[in-house]
Amino acid sequence: MSTNIIDRRRINGPQRSVEPIYAKPVVAFSGDGRADGRLPESVRPIFMRTGPISPQASSAASPSGSAYYEQGRIRISCAIYGPRQGRKANPRMGIFNCEFKYAPFSCSWKRSHLKTSDEKEIGLMLEQAVSPAIRLEVYPKANVDAFVTVIESDGKAATISAAINCISAALVDAGIELYDSVAACSVALSKDLQWVFDCTQQEEDAASCSFLMARMPSVDEVTYLLQHGKTTPKQTADAIHVCTNVSTQVYAVICRHLKETLEGKNESDQ
């Protein structure tokens, strides 16, 4: 039973409330029979949009760059501010900060308004995954801030990798100097010991191991790697191999979108 914390700055509901017990559908988790009919190595369709919706009437307080990202049911919005003055400053290098937040209605259970430790952890993961791609040395004493809000999530590892892709696109929109865009993907190990890509929450719950990789495909460098669960060294090596291929595909999708946006922008300027 959850006890809701009373927050004087918000409208509070009852002190104790619980979710009713829902009958959960049973998912047979194996590579060749996925619930949504996908192939094991296929990623859910990606949709994204960068920048403001209407370019005119964008206010002075609007972010330097923004992106909205969808991958299946996952919906993420990200805003980039900077390079700007910040509280922390390093005279040699710029600092990249990332704030990650789940909207209260974004998960299958009700999330707290207050920042929880897992949000803090994911924020740090995103920082570590994306900052190697940023040319921070050209922004001494400055901060680049990323604010990420998950509007809807479906699978934790998939949500984190979607957030990485979303930040990459927003950084390009903000005109921050990058070595390369970071593209991320996630896999999970199914019952028949097959790596299955981009798992939904139901699939993830049934999986024995989850694996996340962020990579800069054009320079072929890995920026973040995370594994939860038990595998043999060979299986992990396999996971790295398959993730390398799929992250390149994800990268191609991001790049194609950015190119189309840029071309669209050029047209509207004429």
Binding site: D7, R9, R10, I11, N12, G13, P14, R16, S17, V18, E19, P20, I21, Y22, A23, P52, I53, S54, Q56, A57, S58, S59, A60, A61, S62, P63, S66, Y68, R73, R75, S77, C78, A79, Y81, E99, K101, A103, P104, F105, S106, C107, S108, K110, H113, D145, F147, V148, T149, I151, E152, S153, D154
Partner: protein, 278 residues
């Protein structure tokens, strides 16, 4: 930055002028009876509403008004009712204005603007819904709905967008059929989409802003809000009756103007009604 000097006069690119002198920039438009966005003074931004946009919430809606985007999601939980009101459920509304939507907000606890909006919307919506329709078993179990209205992009007039998003999400709300086990008190949810919340009246907001002490504009965007000295919110219900009038700020709005605003709010009501029905 293009800067050239012609006969002693400095000229800037439009964007440069907007950045260094935003008030004067806006004033140049207003004195010509136009707005930067190209809208008429009495023209609201078009509304786009998508209902049921979020699968993890029991009710949801996304509202877009120009560059302002708000998402409202409602999560339903069960709890014990208040002893004094054994048949009433709970509905809490919170507005989230995070630093993601605008540089005007800081991370951390909700800003003053967010708190004021949450409180005002809560006071508006509570008498507009039938909380007894949230009763599962008198004195034992009721629904507790928490509606969170998250701003994705901020470009002025969030209060209108938030109210419309909340109303659309409440219309979209579908609560599952539930069974209470009399022995253990465990609440089990069955098939989705059994019960709907009883809505007494829908709310149709319209905000007007007094910009630069002289010009009354409808649905001000962020740049216009920065030079607003007074704003007037008029909320109408389905019958076109006034539910709420809220004038904020020290700027003077004459009685005639208020009457005109109420008339304009009726026109806006039909626009919102149309957007809600699609």
């Amino acid at each position: 930055m293009s800067q050239s000097e012609k006969s002693g006069q400095i000229t800037f690119a439009m964007q440069t002028f907007e950045r260094i002198h935003p008030v004067e920039f806006q004033r140049r438009f207003l004195t010509q009876n136009t707005r930067l966005s190209g809208r008429e003074f009495s023209q609201f931004r078009a509304l786009h509403i998508v209902k049921g946009s979020i699968g993890t919430a029991q009710g949801s809606a996304t509202v877009r008004m120009g560059n302002t985007i708000m998402v409202c999601g409602i999560k339903a939980e069960v709890c014990e009712p208040d002893v004094k009101r054994p048949k009433h459920g709970y509905l809490t509304t919170n507005v989230e204005l995070s630093p993601m939507c605008s540089a005007r907000f800081r991370p951390g606890p909700p800003s003053e603007e967010a708190q004021v909006a949450s409180e005002h919307i809560h006071r508006l919506i509570t008498p507009s819904v039938d909380l007894t329709s949230l009763c599962i078993e008198e004195n034992k179990v009721v629904w507790a709905l928490s509606a969170d209205i998250v701003c994705i992009k901020y470009d002025g007039n969030v209060l209108d967008a938030a109210i419309v998003a909340l109303v659309a999400a409440l219309e979209n709300l579908k609560l599952p059929e539930v069974k209470v086990d009399p022995a253990t008190g465990v609440v089990e949810a069955g098939a989705e989409g059994g019960v709907q919340l009883g809505i007494v009246r829908r709310l149709f907001p319209a905000t007007f802003a007094l910009v630069d002490d002289n010009y009354l504009v409808a649905d001000a965007d962020d740049a216009e809000e920065q030079m607003t000295s007074a704003s007037l919110l008029v909320v109408l219900d389905d019958q076109g009756q006034m539910v709420n009038v809220w004038k904020r700020g020290a700027g003077i709005i004459s009685r005639d103007t208020i009457a005109k605003c109420v008339a304009a709010a009726a026109t806006r009501k039909s626009e919102i009604e149309h957007a809600l029905s699609t």
